[in-house]
Subunit: 243 residues, 2 copies
């Protein structure tokens, strides 16, 4: 039986999602828990996507094939009993055998949190501690230019020359809550570091070092050196995936 | 010159506030930073109060005497440059030489955060992951009985027989924000584990295992065995101190 598994994790103590030798990763911990549930038969998760070191997930998804007799509630409970306290299975759902967590994903939402106020030690791993004022209105103007279908090559780190970097962003938003800036992007897919590089550019705009309209030029340049700094990982959350 | 120092900390990695041999404590880190600022002269902080292992502070206060020429802004910056990333000086203020951070404190506010919703790995150290429904209205009725001047002996752990346990609670409140329950107490002083024991009793009421009115009997019994479990440390925050 194939199950779709919805899970959350705190990225702080993981060396990213993807399994690597001698590193603590989310994928490794999920595979270990799945294998235990599946009576010791080596079982792997196929996730919707990866997240980088320090990035959090409010809802990440993956599918796995389980051969033992188990229902959705039991699977959730069993996985949580084997997982460490920084990963949590929220829900499991039985799906068709041809369901695929990566190929069937239609959209993803990412959130980036910046603290503009006083440094907060409790949130040092859960928001970018920017700790200064910034021109939020300029950032609001700039973020609109990321919407639509574009070649996002200029905002992708570790660019492989031949990789297709055309993606669509359906929705963007910037909210202010107390001293927090909450930046959201919803799109059909995001490339490596793309969200953090877009946020890095928004910060440049918010600091008056670039105009909101310049986003268009940078996008069109297809040149990574034109965009700017990558915003730190700890502010980034994978919020949800649509299938 | 005596300075009043307002600071915050994440209690997760500290073995409480109070300095102890071979333990990482907030007091030890503050004393080390103060000593460095004070040109190597051993300098100690006198805090308003202690917090236990795992308890956080949004605003803790202490005074210290600094002999080097330094102003308020410089002192804040210098201390923060020496402190680890889980302690942060928010503000410093020059005060009279007879000011005392403990004796001059008139009131303290504590907050306790419970997550009634799904387990959240990002908040496992920052809220009690209760993860069930609870009768909030019963808790709201119960918390009122803690207000006023009482002998809180029944809610104090490690009770010294002769210690005076009479304190006043000026204000209590329970707010709901999404799946969070935010419980606040403001009073002239709190005894060891008092807030966590009061919250433990509120949970008992919220679970229907005690009536809201029974708070009165327990208070009057002066008997620790009548109150119940101590709520976990990670939900507790020292929010502010009034002078």
């Amino acid at each position: 039986m194939r199950f779709l598994i919805k899970f959350s994790y705190d990225g702080t103590r993981f060396n990213g999602f993807q399994a690597q030798k001698n590193q603590r990763t989310v994928e490794e911990k999920m595979n270990e828990a799945l294998t235990q549930v599946n009576n010791g038969k080596k079982t792997c998760i196929t996730a919707t996507g990866r997240t980088d070191k320090g990035v959090h997930a409010l809802a990440q998804y993956g599918h796995a094939d389980i051969n033992v007799e188990i229902n959705e509630r039991q699977l959730k409970r069993a996985l949580n009993s084997f997982l460490p306290d920084d990963i949590h299975v929220i829900e499991t759902r039985e799906v068709d055998d041809d369901f695929h967590a990566r190929y069937d994903a239609k959209g993803k939402t990412y959130r980036y949190i910046m603290n503009l106020g006083e440094y907060n030690p409790m949130e040092r791993n859960y928001a970018f501690q920017y700790n200064y004022d910034i021109d939020v209105e300029a950032m609001r103007k700039a973020i609109r230019y990321f919407e639509g279908e574009h070649d996002y090559r200029a905002f992708v780190t570790e660019n492989k020359e031949k990789e297709n970097c055309v993606r669509s962003i359906f929705y963007t938003n910037i909210d202010e809550e107390d001293d927090k800036l909450i930046i959201e992007f919803e799109g059909n897919g995001f490339l490596r570091y793309q969200v953090r590089n877009m946020v890095g550019y928004l910060i440049k705009v918010g600091e008056g070092k670039a105009t909101p309209e310049s986003v268009v030029e940078v996008l069109e340049s297809l040149d990574r050196t034109k965009s700017g700094k990558t915003a730190p990982a700890q502010g980034l959350y994978l919020v949800d995936v649509e299938f």
